[in-house]
């Protein structure tokens, strides 16, 4: 019964984040959106990178007249008014804020209004392009979505930030389901890696919570099992780079106890920056290039709810 309801549920919201800046979040979001639109799905891209929006550029659209900040500032009443139609059928865009300095930090009321309006929109897929960093706003968008997708590069800096992002999202989710103030304080304390209580991993934390309040600990355990972020490794140059996705999956399983789903990778190719330079979307300008193919595969895995398996590597 539950499966049936899930299948009937029309809209899916995907959020694409990753902690570090400049790792290709907007590029991947834009091109996933185009690929989906070509599959005759109704797609809405939302540039939720409120401080540094540039999703419109990866789609080849000039600076838009109406942006999210018009909505957040109530210059327009409904979110419909800030939706821009693109040249690609089935694909529309809500561009990020451009002018409004405070837009990078919407307050709680603005945020909930945005999320509420997003839910009413008519689309098969809503893709949220998140900004860099692990601020609460970004984490909340990530947690609000049906699928949280992380982008990393095969580089220590990006991986470090991705773990940081997972950990922050994870603990924020914990805090949302817990009402007991003592437990909340404990979670806050555990966020500090060098805390004095010897809580190193989420497993330690849950054990400690369980010793305080068994039921709350069990709720958290359930949260762990349902938290399933997805991973895309971008700018892959070698087979070892592809392997990093599997390594992260294993490390996350052993450290956080969470199931990171490895959606796929996007190969490095000069045609990517050429497409950005020419301000034309990658999958339209170079549809047969390897990165474009990789993105198709990622979309395929997302739609089929599949992930990379080791046999694809060898």
């Amino acid at each position: 019964m539950i499966e049936l309801q899930e299948a009937l549920r029309k809209k899916e919201i995907w959020a694409i984040g990753g902690g570090k800046g400049g790792i290709g979040k907007s590029l991947i979001t834009g091109n996933i959106g185009i690929t989906l639109a070509r599959l005759k799905k109704k797609v809405l891209l939302v540039d939720a990178d409120l401080g540094g929006a540039n999703l419109h550029t990866t789609l080849g659209i000039g600076v838009p007249e109406m942006t999210l900040s018009d909505f957040l500032n109530r210059r327009v009443e409904t979110i419909q008014e800030v939706i821009i139609k693109t040249a690609i059928p089935n694909l529309s865009l809500i561009s990020g804020a451009q002018d409004f300095l405070d837009a990078a930090n919407p307050n709680f009321a603005q945020k909930t209004r945005l999320l509420r309006h997003l839910e009413t929109l008519d689309a098969d897929y809503i893709l949220l392009d998140l900004g860099a960093g692990t601020s609460f706003n970004i984490l909340d968008f990530f947690l609000f979505s049906d699928h949280g997708i992380l982008v990393v590069l095969p580089e220590p800096t990006a991986i470090e930030n991705a773990y940081r992002f997972i950990k922050s999202a994870f603990y924020r989710r914990f805090k949302k389901v817990v009402t007991n103030q003592n437990v909340k304080d404990l979670i806050d304390a555990a966020m500090d890696q060098k805390n004095s209580m010897g809580i190193r991993t989420p497993v330690d934390l849950i054990e400690r919570v369980k010793s305080m309040e068994k039921e709350v600990g069990e709720i958290l355990e359930l949260e762990v099992s349902t938290f399933r972020p997805k991973l895309i490794v971008n700018q892959v140059r070698t087979k070892n780079d592809v392997q990093i996705g599997f390594s992260m999956k294993s490390a996350c399983q052993k450290y956080f106890g969470i199931n990171l789903e490895y959606l796929g990778y996007v190969e490095y190719d000069d045609c990517v920056w050429q497409s950005i330079r020419s301000k034309r979307p990658l999958v339209i300008e170079y549809p047969y290039s390897r990165p474009a193919r990789c993105i198709e595969r990622v979309v395929h895995n997302l739609l089929r709810k599949e992930q990379m398996t080791l046999s694809m590597l060898y």
Binding site: P154, P156, I244, F246, S247, S250, A251, L310
Partner: protein, 236 residues
Amino acid sequence: MLKKIEDLNYYELLEVSPRATSQEIHKAYERIRKIYDPNSIALYSLFSPDETEKIRQRVEEAYRTLIYEENRRMYDLSLRDYLDELPPQEQPPARPVSATPVQPSHPSSVPPASPPMPSPAAYAAPAPAAPAPVPPPPVAALPVQPPPQDIAEFSGTVLRMLREQRGMTIQNVADTTKLSARYLECIEEENFAKLPARPYLRGFLVNYAKALGYEPDRIAADFLKRYDAFKNPPKK
């Protein structure tokens, strides 16, 4: 169920199913060892160097236990509760179970120190899901005996019969001999054109015969005679 790394059992540590074949375990080990390499960039921000080293040691321990059949059997006994709770085997991968602890037909292989055995079904792979009973696993060290005298010639068909008599699948033989299942099929079907050159084929046959538990000489010689006849047909 969340577990600390120290509490993971060897199968969980290597990320394999408790029903994995030794080949799968070996592959998994190579993979995990690479992942937990001290220089891996996917690790250092989660695990301290000490922790990584500890994980590596445990992975070594796990591999050394699971790769030897005897050790693995003992280990499986100690894990009995965990193995009992396993969900029934999924249908498609009808992989042989190389670590089923007890073989009724080979009572000598039971570890001597263990307490009296409950019925083997208690911790054998839950079979009811499978349509036919799971074929008995290959036993690596069968005592080699001379091949039956009443068989005049060991052709591919005879080899297949002998194998089926022992309840082994091609895959079982492939796992113990490390020969590819395709070649084994070619041997049984006497698909000589697809088989490799004579000296290699001889090696294959010797291994196959040993896996069936027979002294290889006569079997290999008989089969090679048929192979030679195919390669050099008598001139008219």
